[in-house]
């Protein structure tokens, strides 16, 4: 990695520190990140083209994939967590619904946490309204459109109120109105309860709109990480400058 800038956000301690993390699919190295940090209460955009390793990094952060090399250190999870690991929810690029109603899908993670029934109902109703899915509450989730399914996946992840929310290209299938909705809802959640969000996108403009911090991934490597303003206004790496200029460097 050419540079890791903390910009003006020293107040946010790192939640995760990634050190020399690598992941390979067979003999193909999909990810080889020297250093990267995810800071508490901030929205980190993993920016990069298709195949840059963004989704792989997200799966490693979620703990659903095991790195070939390196480690992810937990910096400052909440002390009440027994193993020190933060609670994580991840929304996949192609979310899969359970063959149940939309409401039951949102309730899934809450039932796993054994929350009281009333609390589950309240949260399900709240998040269905937030994501404009309330009218579809009783519809079978496997009959939703791609865009509705994405909103459902975001609702069921937000409903469990995780410390860290991992979003893999969450707006790739959405029309502009819903893109705005998702950006607003997630941003509001970061502000409301200080949760941490890692959001992958290949969309420069979106990263500029929503990110507190940005990391550029190219060819599986983290080229540069900085706070949003620094990243966009004064990038340090030539490849970052070229990427921001729209040059085809990948």
């Amino acid at each position: 990695m050419a540079r890791e800038s903390t910009g003006n956000s020293h107040a946010s301690p790192p939640l995760w520190r990634v050190e020399r993390l690598a992941y390979a699919y067979g003999k193909t190295v999909a990810l080889d990140v020297e250093r990267l940090s995810v800071r508490r209460g901030r929205l980190l955009c993993l920016l990069g083209p298709t195949g840059a390793g963004k989704s792989t990094l997200l799966r490693l952060l979620a703990g659903t994939a095991v790195p070939s090399r390196g480690r992810i250190d937990v910096g400052s999870a909440r002390p009440e967590k027994a193993n020190g690991a933060p609670s994580v929810a991840m929304v996949y690029q192609q979310p899969l619904p359970l063959r149940r109603s939309v409401a039951e899908n949102v309730a899934y993670g809450l039932k796993l946490k054994r929350l009281p029934r009333r609390e589950i109902e309240t949260r399900v109703e709240h998040w269905l309204q937030q994501l404009r899915l309330a009218e579809l509450a009783s519809r079978r989730a496997d009959r939703l459109s791609g865009g509705q399914l994405t909103l459902l996946a975001i609702a069921r992840a937000l409903a469990i109120e995780p410390e860290v929310l991992l979003l893999d290209e969450p707006t790739a299938n959405l029309d502009p109105g819903r893109v705005e909705l998702v950006e607003q809802v997630v941003r509001a959640e970061v502000n409301r309860r200080d949760c941490t969000v890692v959001w992958t996108t290949h969309n420069l403009f979106q990263a500029r709109r929503i990110a507190d911090d940005v990391a550029l991934l190219l060819g599986g490597a983290c080229i540069e990480q900085a706070d949003g303003r620094t990243f966009f206004d004064s990038p340090a790496d030539e490849r970052t400058k070229a990427f921001l200029n729209g040059d085809l460097i990948y």
Binding site: M90, L98, Y108, A157
Partner: protein, 243 residues
């Protein structure tokens, strides 16, 4: 007809009265009813046993990714094509007086018939269950873990997602058991009032030229098989998201 000959499927001899329909009387006779009930009892027990064994096995097979699973999958497919008379013959030798399990005294009893039907239904339950589990997208467990589910909770959810397929497996096993004739004829002996079931009774009536009775029994069997089939259709609709 042999066996406890007083009851030897002699429906016709005691129902032939001048003013009654012999077929109708026979259909409502105690013996006829006992044949239907024994058929249901033997088949239902076999389905319960094959489901208790087959659903966990099929679940394992559906989730398994290691090479041994391929061998088990092949065995399951062979099991689906298992000739019933061969199963009947093997069990006959096993349960016969000089056989290794001869002391149990199970030959020519409903127990032996249940064992035969369980063996024949088991591969269907395992195969259909495994297929239903495999129909759940591979990525679902990972996505469930991304929502906080443990590996065990994710597996349980996958099984629940395949619930319609599991229902289909049970319905198919019931249909298979109910319509089975070769094995139960060999190990049951078709003894009137003891091991006679719908299929073996039909064989007997046909061989004796009493086609009316054979047809009446066949009608009941067809009705029950139709019921099992209706269940399969309903489960399939559920599986494929039908109305």
């Amino acid at each position: 007809m042999g066996g406890p000959a007083g009851k030897c499927y002699n429906i016709s001899s005691h129902v032939l009265t001048p003013h009654s329909s012999p077929l109708r009387t026979a259909v409502f006779s105690a013996e006829f009813l006992s044949i239907v009930l024994l058929s249901l009892k033997v088949s239902a027990t076999a389905v319960l046993l094959s489901s208790a064994l087959g659903i966990p096995m099929g679940t394992w097979l559906g989730l398994a990714r290691h090479p041994a699973a391929s061998l088990v999958r092949w065995c399951t497919q062979v099991g689906m094509a298992l000739p019933p008379v061969v199963v009947g013959l093997a069990l006959y030798l096993l349960f016969s007086r000089s056989g290794p399990l001869g002391d149990w005294g199970w030959l020519f009893t409903p127990r032996a018939m249940i064992v035969a039907q369980t063996i024949l239904a088991l591969p269907f339950v395992v195969g259909i269950t495994a297929g239903a589990i495999r129909s759940v997208p591979d990525q679902l467990p990972e996505q469930l873990r991304g929502l906080g589910a443990s590996a065990r909770q994710a597996r349980r959810t996958v099984v629940f997602e395949a619930r319609h397929g599991l229902g289909l497996a049970v319905a198919a096993a019931f249909g298979r058991s109910l319509s089975e004739v070769g094995a139960v004829l060999i190990v049951g002996g078709n003894i009137a009032g003891h091991t006679r079931v719908l299929t073996t009774a039909i064989v007997l009536e046909t061989s004796q030229g009493r086609f009316e009775w054979a047809l009446a029994l066949g009608g009941v069997l067809l009705g029950l098989a139709g019921l099992a089939n209706a269940c399969i259709v309903l489960f399939q609709r559920g599986q494929h998201g039908g109305p």
